[in-house]
């Protein structure tokens, strides 16, 4: 496995990376830690059988979701994958609504209809939580097409993994977005594995950004373990998309530290490889960088951890206490009640 190329090429835009500034840096660190602790908590709740079904953890990939989300405004849209807890938290979905969703409760962000893989929050323009690999890309293209046709200046950020690159829908969507010059920010979370198969065994061209370039889409590979690099690239790309120059593509090179899902014995990776990547833990790296720059003190970290612990304790308590959707409502949301109008885009 080649190490991430790290250095982002900057031809996607002219926006400069933000200077390392204390308040924003602590925000980034807090967001990444929130995701890490949320996921640890989810794993524990899964072991306690409070959470069932598939559970895909984002541990190791926090810099990707947090970094990209900094470039988006509330009007922008997000289409995510089934490993979407990080994106959902970074987008502002309350931890309690996510935990309740995984507990299968009516207070969950999808009323317990979706579970871990299908977080939705239309009020935050968070369109899933999509568990068909590649299936979210055409939807992102359509959301962007609607913005174009309605004359709105908005970005649709579409997250997908390296596995999606082998799907036909990836190619169809990149072609459509490029052909129609639609405002899509394609964010490929390249965590090196499509479930248990290395991209080297799966992709004839594992430099994924090159595939986007072949559609004429400005693309760059980014060190997905460096939250500052991700944010900078995402800001460049989002600004370019917003300015009407069509879709842009980021290949964010990252790694999941945990198995594919809780059901995965992780037989296909070596300990050495995992340890090698853990040395590049995005949270540890960023923490060290902030300490070195004297932007982070022990007290800061303790306060952040305490806040997060309190938030997650409350989320679990709320999820435990939340009501179940009544079984009488089993078929309620299959069709829209006739008096109701469609939610605005």
């Amino acid at each position: 496995m080649s190490p991430p190329s790290g250095q982002a090429r900057s031809r996607a835009g002219t926006a400069r990376p933000p200077a390392l500034e204390r308040e924003h840096s602590l925000h980034l660190l807090r967001e990444m830690l929130r995701i890490r602790r949320f996921e640890e908590c989810a794993a524990e709740q899964y072991s306690l059988t409070k959470i069932r079904g598939f559970l895909h953890l984002y541990i190791g990939e926090e810099a990707v979701g947090v970094g990209v989300m900094q470039a988006l405004t509330p009007d922008d849209a997000v289409v995510a994958t089934y490993r979407e807890h990080g994106q959902a938290l970074a987008r502002g979905l309350p931890a309690a609504s996510l935990m309740a969703e995984m507990f299968g409760k009516a207070d969950g962000c999808s009323r317990g209809h979706g579970g871990s893989m299908h977080f939705f929050d239309v009020s935050r323009r968070f369109y899933g939580g999509n568990a068909i690999v590649g299936g979210g890309l055409p939807i992102a293209v359509g959301l962007a097409l609607a913005d174009r046709l309605l004359g709105r200046t908005r970005v649709t950020a579409c997250f997908f993994g390296d596995g999606a690159v082998a799907e036909g829908e990836f190619h169809e969507s990149l072609n459509l977005a490029a052909l129609w010059q639609l405002p899509v920010l394609f964010a490929c979370e390249n965590n090196q594995y499509a479930m248990g198969t290395s991209i080297l065994q799966e992709l004839a061209q594992p430099d994924i950004h090159l595939r986007a370039e072949s559609y004429g889409i400005p693309a760059e590979a980014v060190d997905g373990m460096d939250v500052i690099a991700v944010e900078a690239a995402a800001r460049r790309a989002a600004e370019a998309v917003r300015s009407g120059t069509g879709p842009h593509f980021l290949e964010l090179r990252t790694y999941r530290f945990r198995a594919h899902s809780m059901a995965d014995p992780d037989l296909y990776r070596t300990k050495d490889e995992i340890e090698h990547w853990k040395e590049r833990d995005p949270i540890v790296l960023f923490e060290a960088r902030l300490r070195k720059a004297k932007l982070l003190m022990d007290d800061d970290l303790a306060a952040i951890e305490a806040d997060i612990a309190a938030e997650l304790d409350e989320a679990i308590a709320a999820a435990e206490a939340a009501p179940l959707e009544p079984v009488e409502d089993l078929t309620k949301d299959v069709y829209t009640p006739s008096a109701q109008t469609a939610a605005p885009g």
Partner: protein, 327 residues
């Protein structure tokens, strides 16, 4: 009321034109819907009237542009997606089943997907086994969508307009042999009721249940039954394949006590079987004879004309199914 003589093809076009002219959110998207005018010439001329943004040619990416239609619907548009044939629509089934039909439910009712998808279906043009199947039953299987099969010129126009008033995905199956069908209809384009089946011919001896491209064959069979056998067949056009209107069927069966279901689709696991099962569940006491089915033969559609004819329901087969019953 003033009337106008239209073909089925022109009726669909009239609905498209009306929708494009009256609702800015509407756009048409599909393969060759622009300059070519659609594979079945349905959208001919609309590109000139409404421009390439709203009469949008899509590349050969069924999954991509059906999915884009879903996304555009989520984004506040009212997309009408044309898929060239039902066989090609299989390339988009992921988007249909996993997204269009599912997003509302899976999100706990947060969103609706007001998407209309039209496609040509059915056999009889010697296009063989990758263009001509009748797979509507597969769509009728899916909760979360509605499935319409216009069999008349009026329904071809009015069902599309009705579909555009729905908040959820609607799939419209246009039998390709119907496009040249002509009729005199009300000049004013209006949505039609899509909640009910329609009795297309009244009778008291047997109920012939059908939809779409088989309606003409069933009406021909009914005439033949009357002239040659003195039997009065009632012909019921299902019109909407999901959700099924069983009340109209049961009301007919209360008169006739016998049913034949005519469907171009394959018999095994098909729509005729579903209708039959629902009749059995809800109207068993009304029946004087086992429900009969006249369906497409269980073969990939053959090319040669005589084989294709043998593979499809015909008026003769409907007549035979009825005259095989004891009265």
């Amino acid at each position: 009321m003033s009337t106008v003589k239209l073909t089925y093809r022109e009726a669909v076009r009239a609905a498209l034109r009306h929708a494009l002219a009256t609702d800015e959110r509407v756009f048409l998207m599909g393969e060759d819907v622009g300059g070519y005018g659609g594979a079945f010439a349905v959208s001919l001329g609309l590109l000139d009237e409404f421009g390439p943004e709203r009469v949008r040619n899509a590349p050969l990416s069924e999954s991509g542009f059906v999915g884009a239609g879903i996304g555009a619907a989520l984004g506040g548009m009212r997309p009408i997606v044309e898929v060239m044939t039902i066989n090609f629509s299989l390339l988009a089934l992921d988007q249909v089943v996993n997204n269009a039909a599912t997003l509302r439910y899976m999100s706990g009712g947060q969103m609706s997907v007001p998407l209309v998808v039209r496609m040509a279906t059915g056999g009889g043009r010697q296009m063989a086994a990758q263009h001509e199947h009748s797979l509507e039953a597969w769509y009728a299987h899916i909760p979360g969508i509605k499935a319409l099969a216009p069999a008349t010129v009026e329904d071809a126009r009015g069902m599309l307009l009705a579909a555009l008033q729905e908040q959820d995905p609607v799939f419209i199956f246009e039998h390709a042999l119907l496009y040249p069908l002509e009729d005199e209809i009300d000049e004013e384009p209006r949505p039609v009721d899509i909640a009910h089946a329609a009795v297309r011919r009244e009778g008291s001896d047997v109920t012939v249940v059908t939809y779409g491209g088989s309606l003409g064959k069933c009406l021909a069979a009914a005439s033949q039954l009357e002239e040659e056998h003195g039997l009065a067949a009632e012909v019921v056009d299902l019109r909407t394949l999901r959700p099924l209107d069983l009340d109209t069927l049961l009301a007919s069966l209360a008169k006739t006590h016998r049913a034949v279901i005519v469907d171009e689709g394959w018999k095994t696991g098909g729509l005729a079987g579903e209708v039959s099962a629902q009749i059995m569940e809800q109207g068993f006491d009304l029946l004087d004879w086992p429900v009969q089915r006249v369906c497409g033969a269980e073969v990939p559609m053959p090319y040669a004309k005589h084989l294709e004819e043998a593979a499809l329901p015909s008026a003769e087969r409907v007549v035979a199914a009825v005259t095989g019953m004891a009265f």
